[in-house]
Symmetry: C2
Subunit: 322 residues, 2 copies
């Protein structure tokens, strides 16, 4: 068994060794740029953890890990265009730095690069690896589309929201882990179980994100606490409040003119969350998905000690403060 | 042997039978829309012609043909965003109809759909098919990037221009035909030869496009004759004129204020093309690439009668009037 930090080192090394073409420079520079901005590399790390879980060869998992990380970064480049985001990991976004057209096209070629990485898995698992990868990629695009649509809808249900974060965030974690299982020659049934572990963990992770945005420690959170409240983002907390609150309290959600500033708005709406017990409602649902993840993990037939690192990382993700 | 029109029928049937997911509708409707706008389907048709050339099973070529046609339409969706184009095949472009964000994302998911089609080729040829497809896709992105860059450069050489149209247009025709050869279990050498046929034919085709824009019959051309001149597009003709013309004549190219209207501009610059023999210079280069295409075809070791349809279609493409 390898620790996540050992696996991360292997991933960082492999990323640093990728050789992109040099012409046209303006197409490939943005790729090196976004790939070098770092991030937690959580998806490729958990992919390699799945390889490890099934006693596979880590080196054989690297092409799939690079495919997943490249694909993830591709989605960041295109999402940042759609969201008009100026910054990514504290640096200029690709479209800010090189213009929207180049960002579209560099993103496109990153998708090709991701596919190229994937073709380097062992040919005996190429077809199932591609099927999983394509299904994953499709889900992520569907999730992003739903996320954009929800911005303009006032009737989003909690079930729709959970399905959206499942597609936008969790499918990629599940898909990454399933790829790890496939590369390690796990059976289809076992690969599906590790997919379920990853997907449910991903949903729990995103719900935790929604909670931290309101209840995170301002010192440790790293972002502005209440950012989702200020931007009226339809998070689980907001949708749940909508479901439970009476008519007068719902008006507090919809009329920004009544707040003298953002701090007041955060204070008032957090007050509503507290009054209606939204935090514990969210925690409960988060724990439900975490339970589903652990139930899937339990069904996996590898020795218990091979699951230890996954249990540790799952719990640490749930107890994180940023 | 099958005629191109028989092959086209099979392709249209296969396209009409594609089932896209229905949710989220706004992500998949643009795909059905752009795929149903038609077009000549020249790439998938020539892919199947390559299958036929090597006596392969046409049905086995359909997944690759759908992959190529879907990829091609994906590039149209994203290129139309970058070019700010309002119309495609006489209808609203995807970004005009559904907005830029949806067009980016629908395009992304089309790339995934293309890859999904490709995974349905026989598993014994999956790896070489993917390698060819990815190399092709990458080339097309590089070509589009160069095309955009050339708009802002005044020192584009003819060699750079030929390389740009090779990447942007010809690589896809070559790649399509190579995929046909791979699906038909042709040897690597034979597959490379049919690639060369397609690529060189593609370059010749694009040069013919440049010529037709100026010298096409206004009745048969279907577009405004002189469109490239009006928009100052750096075509082969313009770059060649730049190479040959004296200083005074070059000034006629760069100062639009001297023309009372577009008709005068087209007339004056066409006059320069005539005076410097640009049409025959372009025809010569076009014929050079057509020769290279036929030389590659000649080296292919299938019986001569299997090449007949390809020779007919190549000549008809070169003698077209629109």
């Amino acid at each position: 068994m390898h620790s996540p930090s050992e696996l991360l080192k292997r991933i960082e090394k492999a990323i640093s060794e990728i050789q992109y073409p040099v012409y046209p420079a303006s197409l490939y520079e943005p790729i090196s740029y976004i790939m070098s901005l770092g991030g937690k590399r959580i998806r490729p790390t958990m992919l390699l953890m799945a390889v490890d879980l099934f006693e596979g060869d880590l080196a054989a998992g690297i092409p799939a890990a690079l495919a997943i990380e490249t694909f993830h970064n591709f989605t960041l480049v295109h999402d940042d265009i759609m969201d008009n985001a100026p910054l990514r990991r504290g640096r200029e976004t690709v479209h800010e730095k090189w213009g929207t057209n180049t960002a579209i096209l560099s993103g496109d070629v990153m998708m090709v690069e991701a596919n190229k990485h994937l073709t380097n898995v062992h040919v005996s698992v190429l077809k199932p690896a591609l099927d999983t990868f394509n299904l994953t990629a499709q889900g992520v695009c569907e999730g992003q589309q739903l996320d954009m649509e929800f911005e303009n809808r006032d009737d989003v249900t909690i079930a729709e929201y959970i399905d959206m974060i499942r597609l936008k965030t969790a499918v990629l974690l599940g898909g990454a882990m399933k790829l790890g299982a496939i590369v390690a020659n796990a059976s289809e049934e076992q690969a599906d179980l590790v997919y379920q572990f990853g997907e449910n963990l991903g949903i729990a992770f995103q719900l935790q994100d929604d909670i931290l945005d309101v209840y995170g420690d301002p010192v440790k959170f790293g972002k502005q606490v209440g950012g989702d409240i200020i931007s009226d983002k339809k998070t689980f907390l907001r949708l749940k409040l909508h479901e439970l609150a009476d008519r007068n309290d719902i008006l507090l959600l919809h009329d920004n003119s009544q707040y003298s500033d953002n701090a007041e708005k955060v204070k008032v709406i957090t007050g509503l969350y507290n009054r209606y017990g939204i935090r514990s409602a969210a925690s409960e649902v988060m724990k439900h998905y975490l339970d589903l993840a652990f139930q899937a993990l339990e069904k996996i037939t590898t020795p218990a000690e091979r699951k230890e690192e996954l249990i540790i990382i799952a719990n640490s993700l749930m107890n994180r403060e940023n």
